[in-house]
Amino acid sequence: MIIKGGIVYDPANGIFGEEMDICIENGRIAEDAGGEVIDARGLLVMPGGVDAHSHIAGPKLNTGRIMRPDDSRMGTEPRTRVCRPSTGYTVPNCYAIGYRYARLGYTTAFEAATPIIEARHTHEELEEIPIVDKGALTLFGSNWTVMECVRDNDLGRLAAYVAWGLRAARGYGVKIVNPGGGEAWGFGSNVKSVHDPVPHFDVTPAQIIRALAEVNERLRLPHSIHLHFNNLGRPGNYTTAIETLELLKDIKPSRMRQVVHVAHMQFSAYGGTGWKDFESKASVIADYFNQTNHATMDLGQIIFGPATTMTADAPLEYANARIGHQKWSNHDIELEESSGVVPWVYMRKMPVNAVQWAIGLELALLTRDPWKVVMTTDHPNGGPFVNYPEIISLLMSREKREEEMKTLHEVVRSRSTLPSIERELDWSEIVIMTRAAPARILGLEDKGHLGIGADADVSIYNIKPEEIDPSKDHAEVKAGMSRAKYTIKGGVVVVRDGEIVAAPQGRTYWVDAAVPESEMDRMLSALKEKFERYYSIRMSNYMVQDAYLSNPFVVRAGVQPLKEVI
């Protein structure tokens, strides 16, 4: 297959809007190729989108669907010759997730949080998501075994447990959510700062985070730790954010990437002492990112209208339910985590929501290096991912931001710096934030770029970058990015003119990290006792079986680094 005459953006390979042909052979980008010719003359061509933080599969998604038939009835599409039926807006069914990502030109999406014991469920859903490649991060932040290893300062055992946990969950990386808070919530409380000890476990969130970060590097995992801060969603929490990031400054990365990826930074960039004097501290956070190099972030941009919040930060969801007088689902997961789901509506005239909206944009615009920023909505917490084109058009057009601000509560002008920001992102920066950076941050070497040998994931839009001025023509940008002219996944055309034309099964990435056998044995003998005494299922029934990954892609890592990939 040859994509002819497109205006190609491939910033990872130093290509910033050049007219060139892209050749595809055997599912990969090649020097030359035959076969089908796709006429992309003058059109915007880029690598397929990569979503590094999205909630697309697992128990909390289904909890959201089950408690929200009101949402499932939105966005209903009947089955077609290619597609199974779609339902839902903030909590779409599995099929809709795959089709909608593909229509946006996205070809990869990672589920951001799965407890090990419920990972089988997550994989059952991932299997049902068509087209996109996917993976799931595994939760470790309130896990009894983790906390006991940290308390005993036994990083060898912890490394073995993390490696085993990733294998058991067929997980891709270490996710930490409100560390220690999930355990404290087991008796209805929370941890209040990174130095607040976790009840009954004699460790602090700071110790948990540092230990997991060190182990993450010891195991040379492709992705860094992926961190949802303590105190997320609370006024004044930007100090917790910076305090936490400071903890990790001296840790050496074992690969060419960050040491910590911060999830949905927007929700942790809050000033004020309460909701009344709530304000943006995005500029302080962005300054910190500008001055350091060990952290990356995704935005967690909010979108006005309905959302469904879902997180392993269960105390936060309890607070949300009370504030919003909303239905509330909570799910505590034995020995490992707790979590919650609460429907939400972001309103333009609500002061807090207006400032939250500004914070996401500020973070993207004030952080100078786009390689440190991934565009997300923390789907569906800030709003559904189908709104990415809206965010792109906002980041590319000051005019659009001004127009939007006119419709919002006026505090957006006094409590954020957004009105004064002139920066408008260009296509290269957008491609970095939606493709190149998330792929590099996740450690996906064959994604996010169009170099020879890369996965042939390509998106082509009905946008002529040489004729259009995104600053003025933001409506065209949004419309064009909403319906890819072509999406090519692994060399297969899956979207043509915004319609799904094929729905192949994507791959599921997971990391197999090797640790010395003696460490593993030592860890397992302690773990067996946990199963005998505390877990409600047997150890032999715990691990995710091969049957749940029909198209796995194993990334090797470990204490003795084994370089590559099957």
Partner: protein, 432 residues
């Protein structure tokens, strides 16, 4: 040769116990250890349907599988609104095929949940569910409330493995470290083993729960002295038990969902638990009956957006229990054919629905004969999921587990049967 298989899953009730030991000798299960009476009775097995059958002149006549598949396909293709019902006692994989089948034939798919904990799900749609896995309760709960349920008879190992009698990290002494409260109309076996039994009148659950919410919310003074036959002071005492627990758990059963008030009873109980979290830690869980009724809801939810009663007649899923649920569809004659799998509506539905089954073509897929067989026009015997076929099931708390295959069988699995029917349907369509 005798084979010992450890950590086998029991495919009877929603407890989905995964610590059963089974002894297999020459392809037959000889001993079952560690299961309750219900579980061992199921795993040991009994009379099977021997061969596929098709009803001819009022009598079921043995036929080959291919003939049965073809006849089933003909029935489904010619139906304007077929019902595909059951799914709670088979694997998630079977239901996935069933959903595909429903999509292709424009049918309505419903699970036994609608006549079991369907109202609980509607309650959750109103309020959300404050819950946990069973291990969390085992490790932490110092108060266990059984409301309108009787685990001693319906979920016999529940108390030992997960609740009142289990030992856990923060309750190492087990039963002695917990209080058990039973609220029911009958003084059941479970009630006789409780620390406190509160007897209520049938159909008054809603009022009792409202009164408890009043007391928890500090409004006891506004209550009358007597609430649906229960003295206010008794309810104050029970509310105190709840508030003073460090970790409380309510398990509720069909006593709430089958009674007057239906889902509103559950809806109110969910609010009660939600509000108790302003005082202490509390969770609530439905005592799901069939071993995979929870999984059926999960698979339907991620496939269609809805957990039961999904109508694909118009190509896109439509959901509305009371309209698209089995009992209503049958009693109103809104469907014109039925595929019944892994369930027995003839026994479990009101007479008026059973009569409807007698008026329409019925396909039955099941390992065992049951009263539904008396109404079936096509009978397709299947392998027993979790014993003769592997697959996935979800425990009552939403944990998924992999069912093992213990012995070989000549019978096709539910997945294979549904695929064969689907293939026949596609062939019939191509021919036309």
């Amino acid at each position: 040769m005798i084979l010992q298989i450890e950590d086998v899953l029991c495919t009877f009730c929603g407890c989905l116990c995964d610590d059963i030991r089974v002894e297999v000798n020459e392809g037959r299960i000889e001993k079952v250890r560690g299961a309750c009476r219900l579980g061992s009775s199921k795993i040991m097995g009994h009379n099977r349907i021997k061969s596929p059958m098709i009803r001819k002149d009022g009598e079921l006549v043995e036929v080959g599988y291919e003939d049965a598949y073809r006849r089933a396909a003909e029935i489904l293709v010619s139906a304007k609104h077929p019902l595909l019902y059951g799914w709670a006692s088979t694997t998630c994989e079977a239901l996935k095929k069933g959903i595909l089948l429903a999509e292709e034939i424009g049918g309505v798919i419903d699970t036994t949940a609608t006549v079991c904990h369907g109202p609980s799900i509607i309650g959750i749609e109103e309020k959300g569910l404050v819950g946990s896995t069973l291990g969390q309760i085992k490790n932490r709960a110092d108060l266990i409330v059984f409301w309108g349920c009787n685990p001693s008879e319906a979920h016999p190992r529940h108390t030992l493995r997960y609740s009142s009698n289990a030992c856990g990290r923060f309750v190492p002494e087990g039963r002695k470290g917990r209080k058990v409260l039973v609220i029911d109309v009958r003084e059941t076996r479970t009630a006789r083993n409780a620390d406190r039994f509160l007897r209520i009148q049938p159909g008054t659950d809603y009022e009792i729960i409202s009164a408890l919410r009043m007391i928890i919310g500090g409004k006891a003074d506004s209550l009358p002295e007597d609430i649906a036959g229960v003295p206010r002071k008794d309810l104050i005492e029970i509310a105190d038990m709840m508030k003073n627990a460090k970790f409380g758990a309510i398990f509720f059963g069909l006593g709430l969902t089958h009674s007057r008030g239906r889902y509103k009873n559950v809806d109110n109980a969910l609010s009660l638990v939600s509000e108790l979290n302003s005082h202490t830690k509390f969770v609530i869980m439905a005592m799901r009956g069939h071993y995979n009724v929870t999984g059926a809801g999960q698979v339907l939810a991620w496939s269609s957006g809805y957990p039961m009663a999904v109508d694909y007649a118009r190509g896109a899923p439509y959901y509305n229990p009371g309209e698209t649920s089995c009992c209503d569809l049958l009693s109103r004659r809104d469907v014109d054919a039925a595929l019944i799998i892994a369930s027995d509506p003839a026994s479990n539905l009101p007479r008026g629905c059973v009569e409807a089954l007698g008026e329409m073509p019925v396909i039955q897929i099941d390992p065992f004969e049951n009263p539904t067989t008396l109404f079936a026009d096509v009978v397709i015997p299947s392998a027993i999921a979790g014993i003769e076929a592997e697959g996935t099931a979800y425990r009552m708390d939403g944990l998924s587990l992999r069912l093992r295959k213990l012995v070989d069988t000549e019978y096709p699995s539910d997945v294979e049967i549904l695929q064969a029917i689907l293939d026949n349907i596609r062939r019939l369509r191509d021919d036309n």
